[in-house]
């Protein structure tokens, strides 16, 4: 009983938001052309799903997201770990990282459009560049923060520095690394959609701007809804993964 009540409570704010979305245009509080009622957005969602537009564009977007993120994760964890472990790497890379970190990566959109065109590569490159540094920084800080006696113990058990980096330091830094990955995941959606607004011929971001330009507002809101759902689902899935990976924390 309590579980059911808890479930209702958790979803109640969302239900209220949907109800307000439905009521506001119907009661004339906002113009229905600016905000079509929720039910019409849902109907448009259904229509888009049935036509296949939603899935084709979502698949295209998700592929870009996955490719960009995968590159950022591999590059960010690898470089961050090496920077934290080897002083010469740190000395060379730290000034670059520190100066590039605060730069808004969306400023690169025109540059990447020029270099890579309208295809997948420009979006993948943007997501990679945007997500690289958050992953790198969290890995760097995580590895730097590993309790030194863990490292010393592993070394005195006969392991080489590189073996200790991969076998001990990175797993010990995993809570920090996963926190950075979660930030990167959220950021990747931002970069994906905004780059697809500006430089794409398909994808969910492109679909939103295309539908908006064409005045198909219920369908536009439906696509926005789809992006929100995908982002939410990705975050939930990531939290589940985190919980499994950190089960040892007990």
């Amino acid at each position: 009983m309590r579980n059911i009540a808890g479930g209702v409570l958790r979803w109640l704010p969302l239900l209220l938001l949907a109800a307000a979305w439905e009521a506001a245009p119907r009661l004339g509080l906002v113009s229905p052309s600016l905000l079509p009622p929720f039910s019409r957005a849902l109907a448009a969602f259904w229509q888009l799903a049935r036509d296949g537009d939603l899935f084709l564009n979502a698949a295209q977007s998700l592929w870009r997201l996955a490719a960009g993120l995968a590159l950022a994760v591999v590059g960010g964890i690898g470089l961050g770990a090496l920077m934290a472990w080897y002083r010469p790497v740190d000395i060379v890379a730290a000034p670059l990282v520190r100066s590039l970190y605060p730069m808004p990566k969306s400023a690169l959109i025109p540059v990447l459009l020029l270099w890579f065109g309208l295809g997948d590569a420009s979006k993948i490159a943007l997501i990679f560049l945007g997500c690289l540094l958050p992953v790198l920084m969290s890995t760097y800080n995580g590895v730097r923060g590993v309790e030194i006696t863990l490292i010393w113990s592993a070394r005195s058990l006969g392991r080489s520095p590189l073996a200790v980096l991969f076998g001990i330091a990175l797993p010990a830094a995993m809570p920090d690394i996963l926190a950075g990955l979660r930030t990167a995941l959220a950021l990747s959606f931002v970069l994906l959609v905004s780059s697809e607004f500006l430089m794409a011929k398909d994808g969910l971001g492109y679909l939103i701007s295309f539908l908006g330009d064409g005045g198909a507002y219920p369908a536009m809101f439906a696509t926005v809804l789809a992006v929100a759902l995908l982002g939410f689902a990705a975050d939930r899935a990531f939290l589940l993964l985190t919980r499994r990976m950190l089960a040892w924390r007990g």
Partner: protein, 264 residues
């Protein structure tokens, strides 16, 4: 304990520059020899650099002044010949008890079955049978330190370095751990350097106690302890034990007072 010295400190010093401030001389001109199979306690007030001396012998901190020889060879970095047990246990928290103990065995090139067998032997030795698949977070402090001891002993180091290993445990657990350590030592004698600030612990466990002065840390005196074979905590009630404790306490007391005054 007689026999050739296995560990030799020769004029060892250590200084460092804190993030803001002037160079601090932590250790000064330390010369000390530890014989094969000898249990040496390093006793001193907090901040006297006794842990630093252990880290230098462990090869964790780079030696800049003097020399440290193990079996005649200078120390250059950590190695499996010198096993370490830390006050903070330093277990790998994402590994189970068995995985922690196997970590050091995996690189020895033993067949898998033999690794398992040896891991189990040491798990049994520290009375953790039945907890093989527990994570460190599920164990008490005493149990965690037993895992750390088993992990270190499993690679069969010739030398055991213990940095206030029982300092984080409650008094009762600490006494139990003393008995277990003595039992392990009876079965498998290792040259041991045991850092502590607990006078009674030093007297109870050690063959000799090296007392360090307040910063800069120096060896003030080395006191041999002749209580015979430790057969149990009854020894602590003997007059000889009380005499040793008083003698060492007097040596440490003045240093502790200085250390407190110095930190003001």
């Amino acid at each position: 304990m007689s026999g050739a010295a296995q560990i030799v400190f020769e004029g060892v010093g250590h200084s460092y520059v804190p993030p803001r401030g002037r160079r601090v001389q932590a250790l000064l001109d330390i010369s000390l020899q530890i014989a094969h199979g000898e249990f040496m306690a390093l006793l001193g007030p907090s901040g006297c650099g006794k842990s630093t001396l252990l880290y230098l012998l462990g090869g964790f901190v780079r030696l800049t002044q003097g020399a440290i020889l193990v079996d005649g060879r200078p120390v250059s970095g950590p190695g499996p010949d010198r096993g370490v047990v830390f006050q903070s246990f330093a277990l790998f928290p994402w590994k189970t008890v068995r995985q922690n103990i196997r970590y050091g065995l995996e690189r020895l090139g033993l067949p898998r079955a033999e690794q398992e067998e040896r891991a189990q032997h040491f798990i049994d030795m520290v009375h953790l049978t039945g907890f093989e698949n527990s994570y460190p977070s599920q164990l008490s402090g005493g149990m965690r330190q037993r895992v750390a001891i088993a992990r270190t002993l499993a690679v069969r180091p010739a030398i055991l370095l213990m940095d206030e290993p029982f300092g984080a445990l409650d008094a009762q657990t600490r006494e139990i751990m003393h008995e277990e350590l003595l039992a392990i030592m009876r079965a498998q004698r290792m040259t041991t350097l045991f850092v502590t600030h607990d006078v009674r612990e030093a007297v109870y466990l050690a063959d000799r106690v090296a007392v360090m002065s307040a910063r800069p840390g120096r060896i003030k005196e080395v006191v041999p302890i002749a209580l015979g074979e430790r057969t149990g905590p009854e020894v602590m009630k003997s007059p000889a034990f009380a005499d040793y404790v008083e003698q060492l306490w007097n040596l440490v007391k003045t240093e502790a007072a200085q250390a407190v005054a110095g930190s003001r």
